[in-house]
Point group: C2
Chain length 464, copies 2
């Protein structure tokens, strides 16, 4: 039987629940605020340039607002001065490339559209007060349809999307306004010059105060991705051939760094698109081959897919018995380490913009060891064992050999890029402690001692 509650009891219940909720509210708010504060701090710490960027935007907008406040400046443009403020808000982006891209798009599109819009107004006004709206509306419709369709072309979308939008906007603004305001030419001129001022203010602040070059970011990101694969391969050998089963957790964070490489394609493409707008700066000359970074990025991703395949064998259910694994342990670990060194040296030299051939040496070494591995696999070491159990280890060996090929391709692409971008030639190897041939080295030594020295921060090197 259901308990019957009187309406009074119900209302008491809801009141007390309400009271409890109200009591808990300050705590909840406090928790939420603390969480936001923590996230804010983390965002700032992860990339302090974010704080600087926010201050830069504030500064640029405030600077341009002065136009409005000071009589002599305001008199020149009147209310149109507001366009300058709006332009700063719309155009100021995190990186110089993005700001320049948007700014140039906005300026060029405004210039062309303002001219065309004024022309359309003049043409339409010939047909008299009644015919004008019809003609202008027709022009607007046609221009809007064509321009909107053009935004679907991949090349236009990548570089001129914003410009296309501003083109329609300005064309409508000028041609339609012309119906109410005869000073269309003045309006077009004012709009263009205030936008010019806004763009220039944005660019000056963006470039002069701690500029963020997206090309540099792309450069570092491509290098870092190569390095991440190297880091995985460095740890892989020890991890896979570890005899103890203790630390078999699924998520070894230091092994998972490579996973971001798998999905880096779109961000790299965006960066390359913005980087092309940037003028030469530091070691990145005019017409720096940004497209070739995409090629290196693609090859790195191809290698990352193989690394992903390798990673599954770390958590594979069917594992080759330790004693059988032991048979290929040494050459596999050596291949993995040599590959790791090749990648890490490549990443380090690439980051420093040095044409470095020592990675090639490591690739050669790994090929030699791979030959040993192959001949080991050919021998009848395995006959007693069950093929099903051998497969994981054999696949690991085969994947490592494929990875060597991938690394060779990356190395070729990096060298080509290095030549096209006139990287410096190195006299010494980048990380001398790594370049000693490891032929004599026993792999049994603690892998930590073979770790490369930490690479100094890139910005310092680039400011040379």
């Amino acid at each position: 039987m259901e308990a019957v509650t009187s309406p009074q009891q119900e209302s008491y219940g809801s009141i007390s629940r309400g009271c409890q909720w109200l009591k808990a509210l300050p705590n909840k708010c406090c928790d939420k605020t603390m969480e936001i504060a923590r996230k804010t701090k983390k965002l700032g710490q992860d990339d302090p340039r974010r704080i600087v960027h926010s201050l830069k935007v504030g500064l640029a907008i405030t600077l341009v607002s002065l136009f409005y406040f000071f009589e002599p400046l305001y008199d020149g443009f009147g209310d149109s001065a507001m366009w300058a403020v709006l332009t700063v808000v719309l155009v100021f982006e995190f990186s110089v490339g993005a700001t320049l891209g948007k700014g140039l798009n906005r300026m060029l599109a405004t210039l062309v559209a303002a001219g065309l819009g004024a022309g359309a107004h003049c043409l339409a006004s010939i047909s008299g007060r009644k015919g004008e709206p019809i003609l202008v509306a027709t022009f607007v419709f046609i221009i809007a349809v064509i321009t909107t369709f053009m935004r679907f072309f991949p090349r236009v979308k990548a570089r001129y999307d914003y410009g296309m939008m501003i083109f329609i906007l300005t064309f409508c603004l000028v041609s339609v306004s012309g119906y109410r305001d005869d000073q269309v030419l003045e309006m077009a001129r004012d709009r263009f010059s205030t936008i010019l001022i806004g763009c220039c203010a944005s660019l000056i602040v963006c470039i002069c105060i701690f500029p963020v070059w997206i090309g540099e970011d792309l450069h570092k990101s491509v290098a870092a991705n190569i390095g991440k694969l190297g880091k995985f391969l460095e740890a892989f050998g020890d991890e896979y051939f570890k005899v103890s089963e203790e630390s078999n957790e699924n998520n070894k964070s230091y092994l998972q760094g490579y996973r971001t490489v798998l999905t880096s394609k779109s961000s790299e493409e965006t960066m390359a698109n913005f980087a092309r707008w940037e003028p030469g700066h530091g070691p990145f000359g005019y017409r720096h081959p940004w497209k070739m970074y995409l090629k290196v990025g693609n090859l790195t991703r191809d290698c990352a897919y193989k690394v992903e395949a390798l990673n599954t064998y770390l958590n594979c259910k069917i594992q080759t018995q330790a004693e059988i694994r032991g048979k290929i342990q040494e050459p596999c670990k050596r291949v993995s380490l040599e590959c790791s060194r090749a990648l890490k040296e490549m990443a380090s030299a690439f980051r420093k913009m040095i044409l470095n051939r020592s990675a090639a040496m490591h690739i050669e070494n790994s090929k030699k060891v791979a030959e040993e591995l192959k001949s080991l696999l050919k021998t009848s070491l395995w006959e007693e064992a069950d093929l099903l159990e051998i497969i994981p280890s054999a696949s690991v060996a085969s994947l490592l050999m494929e990875i060597i090929e991938c690394i060779e391709k990356i190395s070729e692409a990096v060298n080509k890029l290095g030549e096209a971008a006139s990287f410096r030639k190195s006299n010494a190897t980048v990380l001398p402690e790594l370049s000693d041939s490891i032929q004599q080295e026993t792999v049994q030594q603690d892998s930590n001692t073979a770790m490369p020295a930490p690479v100094p921060h890139c910005v310092i090197i680039m400011s040379e």
Copy 2:
């Protein structure tokens, strides 16, 4: 010895080169125009919604321009009516979700910022004509810095980035304009109401005329990605175990369809973000679990990484001898086919929003065959052969077994999504001709006869 040319000869040379260039110019222009026309045609044919979208944008802008042309409408807003036109240009996007997202962002941000801006102006005006600019500039600076920094929060960036920009923009516009124009409240009101009109016009045209629902696109794209993997696996068995070496070209386009799955992450995320703005429509109810699509997408990508690994064995240099391959050919082909069927049925049922369990049957079948394959690998069939040569085929077998696990995970995620989104329960299997157990089927038969019937186009199904 170099031939010496007189200056006269040189100028003749350059003139004749110029003439040749001029003669070739019409041809070049013609070629370029033809190319653009071809590309335009292809863009339109690939997705005719692009043409419709362009026409819709033209229509919406033209409609809103009428505000400016017709006296009674213009009298209400005056020059502010132009904001409505600009809003349409800025807010009208390809899909309903994107348009709604931008529109709501713009309206809400304008409402809040206009209020705050007017407040800031009133507060600043108390301090007199001299103090006002300083106070307003301070407010603008603080608001710009805070809002710009907030745009770095990933969740804000994903959903409210445009709103944040419009917030700064409107705040500046209203508070700064207040210095020259005392009718700040009227301005704030006009700006908000014209933006409301622009957004409403965009939304009405966007939703009422051939709407493009991005949620539907996401749904189709996730289903298509699952289907692409199925298509690869369908062809893989025959391709890998083919005895003839004739058609060993590297780029078998019909096998490469899965590659787009590898890099689909960012586009899926963008679509899911926009889809959340969309109201319930057709089979997609309010609060449709769009987030779960990302989960299915991630699992599909994990499977695609394995398929990528499988693909490398198609072009592997070291190949297992045909006779050895022959030993595992039958079970491998059957696993591959059953996996392909599981994926294809899953994709087809998912696309039709049917809770279909027949994929599970194929997964069970493939597991059974995988057990056979395992016991085949355990037997000493291989003893005479060289391990190095066995590895590729053994790896293929092992990858196929891993793929079964991946497909099981995808199937679970799809079922969960299906339950959360209340997919229909199926009475029959989706593709009856496929669901007959293939236990009796010989794999040697032409694989084309085992192909599923073409799935009818999704739009038709959804309009049921």
